[in-house]
């Protein structure tokens, strides 16, 4: 197990380095320097080249990349020329709230989707199953911001249960003071996840229900409740572990749209703004975080799978 983890971490580092390199190159091909954005549309060519020289943007790309990597190794994510702040401090400010939204919605999604999928499989083709399936398809096919807008319209504007204006406080503690107003973004994020997880959980439960060991469990005289709790739940949830591990970065991606729709001052919104501003270092940092999350999600999923499925051994 230890040897396996070391090997996996080694591969993970190579993967992350590769992603950094590719992103770096792509950004530099699309827009070799952020000078124009920083200095404004009226900047003279002389001013631009002077700015480039001062900030090192006239050096060859590999030299710039070397500097970037070196900074990265020292924990320095660079400087946002647009926001005039270090990227580190930007992330420190915005990550807690975005992370909270993602994780809470993930937990809510799992808590709803797993039992729902099992219920649907057990009561296959019942009214409940068919309705849940229909809803899942509706929400799955609906863009996440549309879900957000509908939620705002119904629960904030029509019913008035929550405030349509989400707290603008960037700190987590400040936002939590108005937790009620965070419910809609969390629900919006969770809804799409529930729609897809419950489909997977349903089909994997159906597979397990068709297995002989379920028949054997019934033949032992176990009640349906015991058959399901002892022999169905764990087996049917195994495939979900990989799926959830892989969807960690997707949830972060979902944040982009949700933060935009609810006007939450988090990482997602920052990313959207950075995109239109050629804010190099912010874009790089965002990609880096997503890449690391993907790798970690995968690794954690594999470890969890090993712990819960005796057939799998990591070597």
């Amino acid at each position: 197990m230890t040897g396996y983890l070391i090997r996996r971490l080694g591969t993970a580092i190579i993967v992350v380095l590769g992603i950094i390199l590719v992103t770096f190159l792509m950004l530099h091909i699309v827009a070799p320097s952020p000078a124009q954005t920083v200095l404004g549309p009226k900047a003279t060519p002389a001013a631009i080249s002077a700015w480039n020289h001062t900030n090192g943007f006239d050096r060859p790309w590999y030299s710039q990349f070397g500097t970037y990597l070196n900074n990265l190794l020292h924990g320095n994510l660079g400087w946002s020329y647009k926001l005039n702040q270090t990227v580190d401090s930007l992330f420190k400010e915005k990550a807690p709230l975005s992370g909270f939204l993602s994780l809470t919605s993930l937990v809510v999604a799992i808590a709803v989707a797993l039992p729902l999928g099992i219920f649907q499989a057990v009561k296959r083709n019942s009214f409940g199953d068919v309705s849940a399936t229909t809803l899942a398809f509706v929400f799955y096919s609906m863009p996440v911001f549309l879900v957000a807008l509908l939620l705002i319209q119904v629960f904030a504007l029509s019913l008035g249960w929550v405030d349509a204006n989400v707290p603008q406080d960037q700190s987590l503690s400040g936002a939590l003071a108005h937790f009620k107003d965070l419910i809609l973004p969390i629900v919006a994020l969770a809804t799409t996840a529930v729609a897809s997880y419950s489909r997977y959980q349903r089909s994997s439960s159906l597979d397990v229900l068709a297995q002989d060991y379920i028949k054997v469990a019934r033949a032992k005289g176990l009640s349906e409740r015991l058959v399901f709790s002892r022999h169905l739940v764990r087996n049917a949830s195994l495939p979900m572990i990989t799926l959830i591990g892989l969807s960690l970065p997707v949830l972060i991606g979902g944040n982009v749209l949700i933060e935009y729709a609810f006007n939450i001052n988090g990482l997602g919104l920052m990313f959207v703004n950075a995109l239109s501003n050629d804010d190099y270092n912010v874009l790089m940092a965002y990609t880096l975080i997503t890449a690391i999350l993907t790798v970690i999600g995968n690794l954690v999923a594999d470890v969890c799978l090993t712990l819960s499925d005796p057939r799998i051994k990591l070597v």
Partner: protein, 704 residues
């Protein structure tokens, strides 16, 4: 004394979305304490559904009709609420299912799973239940049961898992044990062990047993009485001895006659029951077997025969009963002259069509740093040869390497060393276009007719594909060829436009055979061609394979775990054990003069549908299980299970020795006396010089 279990007019319906299937109708029988009742019939005859009805475990939509009655020790079970049924299931009636690989929960330890019913029905504590689990596991012969309580199912072999299943069923000492095809998924040597175990446990615990099987050989040795079922009804019922001594129903007769027997004369065609069992959502009027019965008259088609006679007599539901088993068939299969039209005339007469020399194949296991260090020794130096128009049969337990050998012969796997030669061309050295061109001479027929045909291709397209790939003929010629093929395998031309799922298993296997035939190959490797089929269908496919060989003159390599099937089809048989060929000889050599103890053990383990013979062999057969192919035993690989093994067997690998013309076995202590002249002298009698590496086995094989 009243019988322990009385079943009267058991009728089961399963409600589907558009129809009602009646898998069991009006079935009545009694089971006495300590008795074993065999339920025999083809799949779909209602034998499993009868078992599930007795357990109250019908699939969704299934129910036992109210006029039915199931009385266990005087207590009526039909109509009981589910909570009371649960107290009976696993406690008073327990069931063992067919497939031990999928019947255990992979995420729970075997101790937990065996203890589960004890905790449930006896209210035992966890520790007490575990103790009981260890006790029952010891009873079913699991070695070191206490240490194995915390093992997971994947750590056990199929045979051990079935023992665990049996332990689970016996944990609460049920009065009745229903064993539903308990050995069908197991190897024949393990089957013999499990059946003996079941019989032994039944006597020791004083249970009654219902043994559900399709195999007349299994019931012959292990049942006291037999119910033959057909299309949801009992066709014939009596004691085992009376049934085999004088069967009265034509279906029983057909069922018995259509199994290839070891003693069978393989120049005779097998008896077949024509057609398929009826659709049970709309059963025919009159006798349900009438449509497939050679004795059927108008009365059979309109009036349904009842089971007549008293409970203990020989009862049968037939208007025109027959008397006793069918005599051996008399229609012979004529063998064509070999190599006719095969274009092999220019080859020297003594040159075999196909030669396999010293093939070795190992599959590395594990990845990363351990790659290449550990490997499964699938095939370790096997040689054989095959003449035009001949059939070579390969038998052995699963995991002995016979399928890998077959795949290497047709070029689907590359051997690590050794060679495969077809008419002088070394197949395994070919690449790209050359290989593709030679593939037309080597075709394969697969075991599972359900997964070997692309479900989204029409049958016409499936059969045409080989011609298209090889670029043979115009579209019109291809279509003509496909139609001709369908005719040859006995399917209507309307099949062209249909999809595989519209056909039965037997029909699909015919399509698989037609596909293998499309390119007029010289050799067809048939991997377990009939083991997925029902007994009556099996005979049809076997006859077809023989007939097509007679008319086309191609050679077969038939791979099967079933020695009787191989003996029926093959001119020569090779017995494989753990990657080695231990004995090669003609069918008669193997059956009558087996020299290797493994061959003899395999023969002993095969259930024969003759009660006296079967009962005589209880406890015989090969002990233990196949050792791991990762680290095969030193010297003779069979020594760990061999009753005659001595020190020499562990130190020295036995060389093949000659026991008669073309009869070779590799054993230090053979059951027959080897022929004096050395195996090498057979070289002169017709072996192909220079094609063998001195392995007497290969040369002796080539001699015939």
């Amino acid at each position: 004394m009243a019988p322990l279990l009385e079943v009267e007019n058991l009728t089961t319906h399963i409600q589907l979305s558009r129809s009602v299937v009646r898998p069991v109708e009006n079935v009545s029988f009694h089971l006495k304490a300590g008795e074993t009742l065999g339920l025999v019939g083809e799949s779909g005859c209602g034998k499993s559904m009868t078992g599930l009805s007795l357990m109250g475990l019908l699939p969704p939509g299934g129910r036992v009709l109210e006029e039915s009655s199931i009385r266990l020790a005087g207590r009526e079970l039909v109509g009981l609420p589910d909570s009371e049924w649960r107290g009976i299931r696993g406690n008073e009636i327990a069931m063992v299912f067919q497939d031990p690989m999928s019947s255990l929960d992979p995420t729970k330890t075997i101790g937990y799973q065996v203890a589960e019913p004890v905790r449930l029905h006896r209210g035992a504590s966890k520790a007490e239940a575990m103790e009981r689990a260890a006790e029952v596991l010891a009873l079913v012969g699991l070695p070191r049961p206490k240490e194995r309580l915390s093992d997971y199912p994947h750590q056990l072999s199929g045979g051990l898992r079935q023992r665990v299943m049996i332990a689970m069923a016996l944990a609460c000492e049920p009065k009745v044990l229903i064993a539903d095809e308990p050995t069908t998924a197991l190897d024949v040597t393990i089957q013999a062990q499990i059946l003996t175990l079941l019989a032994d446990l039944k006597d020791r615990l004083g249970m009654s047993m219902i043994l559900i099987t399709h195999d007349m050989g299994v019931v012959a040795g292990h049942a006291d009485r037999i119910n033959v079922m057909y299309a949801g009804r009992i066709a014939e019922t009596t004691t085992t001895d009376r049934l085999f001594a004088g069967m009265r129903h034509p279906y029983t007769q057909g069922l018995l006659a259509s199994i290839p027997r070891l003693a069978q004369d393989n120049t005779q065609r097998l008896y077949t029951i024509p057609g398929l069992p009826p659709d049970l959502s709309d059963p025919p009027a009159g006798c349900r077997f009438a449509a497939r019965c050679t004795h059927a008259t108008d009365r059979c088609r309109t009036e349904e025969p009842e089971l007549t006679g008293s409970e203990d007599s020989h009862r049968f539901a037939c208007w025109h009963p027959v008397d006793g088993a069918l005599p051996p068939a008399t229609v012979s299969v004529e063998k064509s002259a070999p190599a006719e039209g095969a274009g092999a005339d220019e080859a020297p007469a003594n040159r075999p069509l196909l030669e396999v020399v010293d093939l070795v194949k190992e599959f590395p296991v594990g990845g990363g740093l351990r790659r290449g260090k550990v490997s499964v020794k699938a095939v370790s130096g096997v040689s054989l040869s095959l003449g035009a128009g001949q059939t070579f049969g390969l038998v052995g337990e699963s995991g002995c390497g016979k399928t890998t050998l077959g795949r290497m012969i047709v070029g689907l796997d590359k051997p690590d060393s050794g060679r495969v030669t077809l008419e002088g061309t070394q197949i395994d050295a070919l690449h790209g276009r050359e290989l593709r061109r030679h593939r037309r001479d080597l075709q394969m027929m697969f075991q599972d007719p359900y997964s070997s045909l692309d479900p989204r291709m029409r049958v016409g397209a499936i059969l045409r594909e080989p011609l298209q790939i090889q670029g043979i003929g115009t579209a019109k010629e291809q279509t003509d060829r496909v139609k001709e093929l369908l005719g040859e395998v006995g399917l209507p031309t309307s099949a062209l436009e249909r999809f595989p799922h519209e056909f039965s298993g037997g029909q699909r296997q015919r399509i698989g055979l037609a596909r293998a035939l499309t390119l007029n190959p010289k050799v067809i490797v048939a991997d377990e061609p009939v083991s997925a089929l029902d007994v009556s269908i099996r005979a049809q496919v076997l006859n077809l394979m023989k007939r097509l060989q007679a008319s086309h003159g191609m050679s077969y390599v038939v791979i099967s775990h079933d020695l009787a099937v191989v003996k029926y089809l093959a001119d020569r048989i090779g017995v494989m054990y753990l990657g080695k060929m231990v004995e090669v000889g003609s069918g008669q050599d193997i059956y009558e003069r087996a020299a290797h103890p493994y061959t003899a053990g395999l023969l002993e383990a095969i259930p024969i549908p003759e009660p006296e013979v079967e009962r005589g062999k209880r406890g015989g057969g090969i002990k233990g299980e196949l050792p791991s192919p990762l680290a095969p035993p030193s010297g003779c690989r069979f020594r760990t299970r061999c009753p005659f093994a001595q020190d020499k067997c562990a130190e020295e690998e036995p060389l093949p020795r000659l026991f008669g013309d073309g009869h070779v076995a590799a054993c230090h202590f053979p059951l027959q006396t080897p022929v004096e002249r050395s195996a090498h002298s057979s070289d002169a009698t017709g072996g192909a010089p220079g094609t063998s590496t001195g392995k007497a086995e290969g040369e002796a094989t080539a001699a015939v």
